[in-house]
């Protein structure tokens, strides 16, 4: 059997259905944009203006270079670096405090990471990430909106396609053919990925043009976008395959969507909560996608530095894609029995 031609047609069909469906186009583009417009007009401009004076906008790296670590280490003795750092960076708008924590982090991280040769990258990552999100909240939110759009697309579009095809008897018809389950899953994921990439490119482009967001556009951005889209579509495939009815599917998928969206760094800095919540949020695919996008789009470092900085997030996304796809193919049934 020529799998390639079947794969091409199944993938193209999903793209055709998407492009011929006004509802799908609306949810893919206009809905995320309208959220961005809402953020922009309700608080974006005001927030932006106010933040020009906010200490987070200061160049933290400057303080890292200039301050005296020993002095600060004494004052923070016995306190967790991450906790204190988060606390001060999030709450503080006092340049002196920012300076303190920057130096302190630097000292601590250098001690721990020097041997691994990652000290510079780690310090930059911690500080520039925080500095970036304070600098332009709209840039922070917009990256989250892109992830939200990818999540909805992957979960709902793929899951819905599966559950509607199941409901309409199309999957049973596929079951009577030589079509393998994995090929069906891959074609759905691929079409979803193509749509997601187009969606992200359009949204990011409009973000730069309409909202004047200062994104450092870089081709590296494709990596988290592709992996995020694959993770979300695999989760959609999994949910659609397991659910027996549309009703069950929508109940499951809405819960999953809410969990992945709000238990992550998509819309706010969930890491400032600290503890187990921050740890769990960090391994969510949504957090990994949003963090990676922000690191690429909102920092001014070189491509190789950015790549190194997003490696953990890429790893998390790859693991989610792989495991969710594997589980989906394993549990997927064309019908109740086969």
């Amino acid at each position: 059997m020529n799998y390639l031609k079947a794969f091409k047609n199944l993938t193209l069909n999903e793209l055709r259905i998407f492009l011929r469906s006004p509802g799908a186009l609306f949810f893919a583009l206009f809905l995320p944009l309208s959220i961005a417009f809402f953020m922009f007009f309700s608080s974006g401009n005001r927030g932006r203006a106010g933040l020009q004076n906010y200490s987070g906008g200061l160049n933290l790296m400057h303080y890292v270079e200039k301050s005296a670590p020993q002095e600060l280490e004494k004052s923070f003795k016995g306190v967790s670096v991450e906790r204190k750092g988060n606390e001060i960076i999030v709450r503080g708008n006092d340049p002196a405090k920012v300076k303190m924590v920057a130096s302190f982090l630097k000292a601590k991280l250098y001690d721990r990471l020097l041997k691994e040769g990652k000290a510079e990258v780690a310090v930059k990552e911690v500080l520039t990430e925080r500095a970036g999100e304070r600098k332009d909240p709209l840039a922070f939110i917009f990256a989250g909106i892109v992830v939200m759009a990818l999540l909805s697309g992957g979960l709902f579009r793929v899951g819905q396609t599966v559950v509607f095809a199941k409901d309409g008897g199309l999957l049973r018809l596929y079951a009577a053919t030589p079509l393998p389950k994995w090929l069906y899953g891959i074609s759905l994921s691929t079409s979803s990925m193509i749509i997601a990439l187009l969606q992200a490119v359009i949204l990011l482009g409009l973000g730069v043009v309409i909202f004047s967001i200062d994104y450092k556009l870089n081709l590296l951005v494709l990596l988290p976008l592709i992996l995020a889209s694959l993770s979300f579509s695999s989760l959609g495939f999994l949910a659609g395959g397991i659910a027996r009815t549309r009703e069950t599917f929508f109940a499951v998928i809405n819960l999953l969507n809410m969990f992945l969206l709000f238990f992550s760094s998509v819309f706010y800095d969930i890491y400032s909560v600290g503890g187990i919540v921050a740890k769990v949020a960090r391994i969510m695919p949504t957090s990994a996608a949003a963090d990676a996008l922000r690191k690429i789009l909102m920092t001014g470092s070189s491509s190789s530095e950015k790549f190194l900085a997003i490696l953990p997030q890429l790893g998390i996304l790859f693991a989610w894609s792989f495991l969710a796809y594997l589980l989906a193919t394993f549990t997927f049934k064309w019908s109740d029995e086969v």
Partner: protein, 261 residues
Amino acid sequence: MPESPEHRKDPDCVIEVSNLRKVYTGKRRVEAVKGISFSVKRGEIFTIVGPNGAGKTTTLECIEGLRKPTSGSIKIFGLEIWRSTHREEVREVKRKLGVQLQDARFPLRLKVSEVVKTFLTIYGEDEKKCMEVLEKVELTQKAGFLVKNLSGGQYQRLRLAVAIGHDPEIVFLDEPTTGLDPHARRAIWEIVKNLKKEGKTVVLTTHYMEEAQNLSDTVAIMNRGKIVALDSPSRIISSSVGEGTLEDAYLALTGEKFREA
């Protein structure tokens, strides 16, 4: 009841069903098929008729590989499709089957030609055959139409196109004429007759006795999960009611003139 051991010894048998039993478990246990046996010869039109709930669709779906039998065996081209551990062999058998399901719905926003091309490539065929296939079911004029714009008869012919496009050796048709007007029904009959002329084996289920009588070489009448008659339409009529129609024989054999739908 009527088994056909003589068929099973025939090397020309393409389908052999032995002691097929299917029990649905769940809130209510239902034994839909109660140990039936029959065989289908190459090139014949084999029709399963019976009232609602008789087990005809379940039987067909077990043969098509869509429902797992509780017990019994089903051989297609000599291969035990439910016991074979060789996936490639099963795929190879599936490639020789064409299936039309009574309730399968294609995506509404796809064009007729796109649906046919997709299924052609799933079966490993060249998608260029699309127009040729559509011609067989007289849908060439509708090739560029969206599925949602097809009438009931055209939709059914599209289902047929998908089932026969890859030139299968056995075609399964599950109530292909249900809900169609007389013209559309006759059009489907013509297609089925042409399949027979081409040497294909056709297994179909129907509620229409006239259809079964006109098209079939062999008819299996099912009632409450069992086969109550298995022979040519004329022999079933003569052995059960002497003379009349298949419908008379059917009513006599199923023992009920009126049933709840």
